[in-house]
C-alpha cells in the first residue's frame, strides 16, 4: 500500500458526545482570548497581565463578582430573548430596542401605579409592564413576519434605532412625563420607592450592585427550560424549528407559533429593561443605551447554543468581561473598553466554527492507492 497523503474527513455524528458540549465553548473562549491578546500586544498592553487584571476586576474580587452579577441580570434576559427566538430560526435582533421599551414601560408603571401599591405588588407590576412594552415593540415585526413573511432581521433591527431616539426624546428632547420635573438637568423622573428593590449585601456590611432581580432572571431561565421541555407548546416549536413543513402537516399554525415566539422574546427583553428600573436606575436612564446589552444577548444565546440554563452561565461570563473591561479602562495603563466587545465577537466567531466539530467527527485519514 502506498500512502498518497492525508486528507481531512468529516463524518456526520448521529449523537453529539457530552464532551463536545463543554469543550467547544471552552475552546472558543480560549481562542478568543488569544486573538484579543494579539490585539492587546499590538497596542502595547501586556496580554497576560491585562487578562489577570480582567479576571480579578471581573470575577474574583468581591466588588468584581457582585458588579458582574448585577450587569448579568438584564443580560440573562436579553440572552433568553435571543435564545427563545433563534431556536425557532427566528432571527430577531431587536432585543436592544425592546429592552429600552421595557425600561420605559416599567418606569411608567413605577411612576403611575406603584405609589398606591405595596412593594410586593409594585415590583412585579413594573416587571410586567416592562414585558408588555417589550412585546409591544416587537408586535409589528412579529405580525409582519407571521402574516407577510417580512424578514424579522431587518425590521427588528431598524426599530432599535427608533427606540434609541425615543429614549433620547423622553429625556433630552422634551419636558414630558418621563423627565424629572424638579431639575433642569436632563434625567428621568424617579419611580415610587415601593417599586424599587434594595441591593443585596451578601451577608456583609457592603452595598453591592447586585439586585434580587438576578434571582428572578435565573428563575426565568429555569422556568423556560422546564416549560419548553414538558409543554405541548415547547414540543410544537421544536418540531417547527426542525421542519416547518412537518409542523404544518401536523396541523400546527405557523402564524401562531412565529408570532407568539417573537412576542415572548420581546417580552423577555422588556423584562430586562424593567429590571434596570427596579434595580440600579429607578428611572428612564439613557445610561443603559451605551452598554449594548441587547446585542450582547445574541452572543450570549449563541454561545449557550440557545440552551436557557447555559444562557445564565454565558451571561455571567460576558458580564464579567464587561465589568473587568470597565475597570481596565480607568486603570494606570488604560485599555479601551472596546476590548470586551472584540472578545465577545471573537468568542461568537470561534463558537460558530466549533459547531462543525460538534456536528461532525473530524478525522485525519491517510489516502491510499487502491491495490488492484
Amino acid at each position: 500500500m502506498i500512502v498518497l497523503g492525508r486528507r481531512i474527513q468529516m463524518e456526520q455524528r448521529m449523537a453529539v458526545p457530552k464532551s463536545a458540549v463543554v469543550i467547544v465553548p471552552v475552546v472558543s473562549v480560549i481562542a478568543a482570548l488569544v486573538v484579543g491578546g494579539v490585539f492587546l500586544a499590538l497596542t502595547g498592553h501586556p496580554p497576560v497581565r491585562t487578562y489577570l487584571d480582567l479576571l480579578d476586576n471581573g470575577y474574583t474580587s468581591f466588588y468584581g463578582i457582585t458588579d458582574t452579577l448585577g450587569l448579568a441580570t438584564p443580560l440573562i434576559c436579553t440572552g433568553l430573548a435571543a435564545a427563545f427566538a433563534f431556536r425557532m430560526n427566528l432571527y430577531s435582533i431587536g432585543q436592544e430596542g425592546q429592552m429600552y421599551l421595557g425600561m420605559i414601560g416599567g418606569a411608567w408603571a413605577g411612576i403611575v401605579l406603584a405609589d398606591s401599591l405595596p412593594p410586593l405588588i409594585a415590583v412585579p407590576s413594573v416587571l410586567l409592564f416592562g414585558a408588555l412594552a417589550g412585546a409591544a415593540w416587537i408586535a409589528v415585526p412579529a405580525f409582519l413576519r407571521a402574516r407577510l413573511g417580512t424578514s424579522e432581521i431587518v425590521s427588528t433591527l431598524l426599530l432599535n434605532y427608533v427606540a434609541l431616539n425615543l429614549v433620547n426624546y423622553f429625556i433630552f428632547g422634551s419636558q414630558g412625563f418621563f423627565r424629572d420635573p424638579t431639575t433642569s438637568f436632563p434625567q428621568g423622573r424617579a419611580v415610587a420607592d415601593s417599586a424599587r428593590l434594595s441591593p443585596l449585601s451578601f451577608f456583609t456590611e457592603k452595598s453591592t450592585n447586585t439586585y434580587p432581580t438576578f434571582f428572578v432572571a435565573v428563575l426565568l431561565a429555569v422556568m423556560l427550560f422546564w416549560f419548553m421541555r414538558v409543554s405541548n407548546y415547547g414540543y410544537e416549536t421544536a418540531v417547527y424549528a426542525d421542519s416547518p413543513n412537518t409542523a404544518r402537516y401536523a396541523g400546527m399554525s405557523s402564524a401562531w407559533l412565529q408570532s407568539s415566539v417573537l412576542l415572548v422574546s420581546g417580552a423577555l427583553a422588556g423584562v430586562g429593561g424593567a429590571m434596570y428600573v427596579v434595580g440600579p436606575a429607578g428611572k428612564v436612564d439613557p445610561g443603559l443605551l451605551q452598554v449594548g446589552l441587547g446585542y450582547a444577548g445574541i452572543v450570549v444565546a449563541a454561545l449557550a447554543r440557545y440552551n436557557f440554563l447555559a444562557v445564565v452561565l454565558a451571561a455571567v461570563l460576558f458580564a464579567g468581561l464587561r465589568t473587568g473591561g470597565n475597570a481596565l479602562q480607568v486603570s494606570n495603563d488604560p485599555v479601551p473598553i472596546a476590548i470586551a466587545v472584540v472578545l465577545q465577537g471573537a468568542v461568537l466567531l470561534f463558537a460558530l466554527g466549533g459547531e462543525l466539530f460538534r456536528r461532525n467527527k473530524v478525522t485525519l485519514v491517510r489516502v491510499q492507492k487502491a491495490t488492484t
Binding site: L148, V162, Q344, G353
Partner: protein, 312 residues
Amino acid sequence: MNSNIWLLTFADAISIATTLILASLGAIITERSGVINLGVEGMLLMGAVTGFVVADSTGNLWLALLIAVLVGVVLSSIHAALTVGLRANQIVSGLAMVIFGTGLSQFIGKPIEGDPLPVVIRPLELGWLSDLPFVGPVVFGHDLFTYLTWAAAGGASFYMHRTRPGLLLRATGDAPATVDAQGGSVARIRWVHTMVGGALMTFAGAWYMFARAAAWNQAATTNGIGWIALALVVFASWRPLRALGGAVLFGFSLQVPFTLQALQIRTLPPTIVAMFPYLITLAVLVLLSTPRARRLLGAPKMLGQPFVRDER
C-alpha cells in the same frame, strides 16, 4: 435661501447614496451567490477606521483606500470560511461580524477619536458644468468615487446579467446543485463573491470617512447605514441598477433631519425626526412584503442555505 438649502439636501442625498450604493452592491453580489452577510455595519466601521488610521500615519489617501479594501477581503473571508467552509449559520456569523467589527473598530479608533481628518476626498472641479443652476451642484458637484460608484452599479448589472460568470453567480444563488452538476465549484463562486462584496463594503466605509465624516467617532460614523443598505438590497430586488434609485431615496431620508435642523424648523423635535430614516425604511420593507410585490421581487432561492453535495 430656503430653496438653496433644499438644493444642497438633494446634492447631499446623492452623496450619502454613494455609501449606500457601494454597501448594497457588496451585499447584492454576496447574496446573489447564496451567502447572506449581515455584517455590513461592522464592515463599514472597519473600513472607515482602518482607512483613517492608515491615512493618519502615511498621509496617502490611495494607500488608505487600498488597505480598507484589503481589510474587507480579510473580514469577509472569515465569514466565508465559517459559512461556506464550515457551513455555520450565516445569520449568526453575520451578526458576529457586526459585533466583532464594532468592537475592533472602536478599539483601533480609540487613540484617534476626535482627531481631524488627515486627508479628505474633495468634489471634482468640472468648470462651467458645476456652475449650472440646479444640475451643477446636484449632478456635477461630486467626487470621482461617486461617479465611479454609479458606473460600478452599471458594471455589476452587466456582469450579472450579460456575462457567463455572472450567470453562474446567479445560478449559484438559485440552484447550487445545478452549478455543481455542471462542474462548477459552488464553494469557489461563493468565496470569491463574498470577498468582493466585503471589499465593496469596507470601501464604502472608507469613502464615507474621507468624503462625509468630520472625524472618527464610532457611535456616530455609520449610525445604522449598514442596516439601511441591507434593506436597500430587498428594495432593489437584488438588482444593482434598482439600488441606485433606492439609495437616493434613502439618502434623502437620512439627510432631511439635518436640513430641518438647519432651517430651524421645530415643529417636530430632532430626536423624533431622527427616527424617520429607519421608519421609512421599515415602511418600504412592509410594502415590499405584500404578496403581489413578493412575486416581482425574486430573492436568490437558496439564500442563506449552505450547499452540501449528495445531501437529500
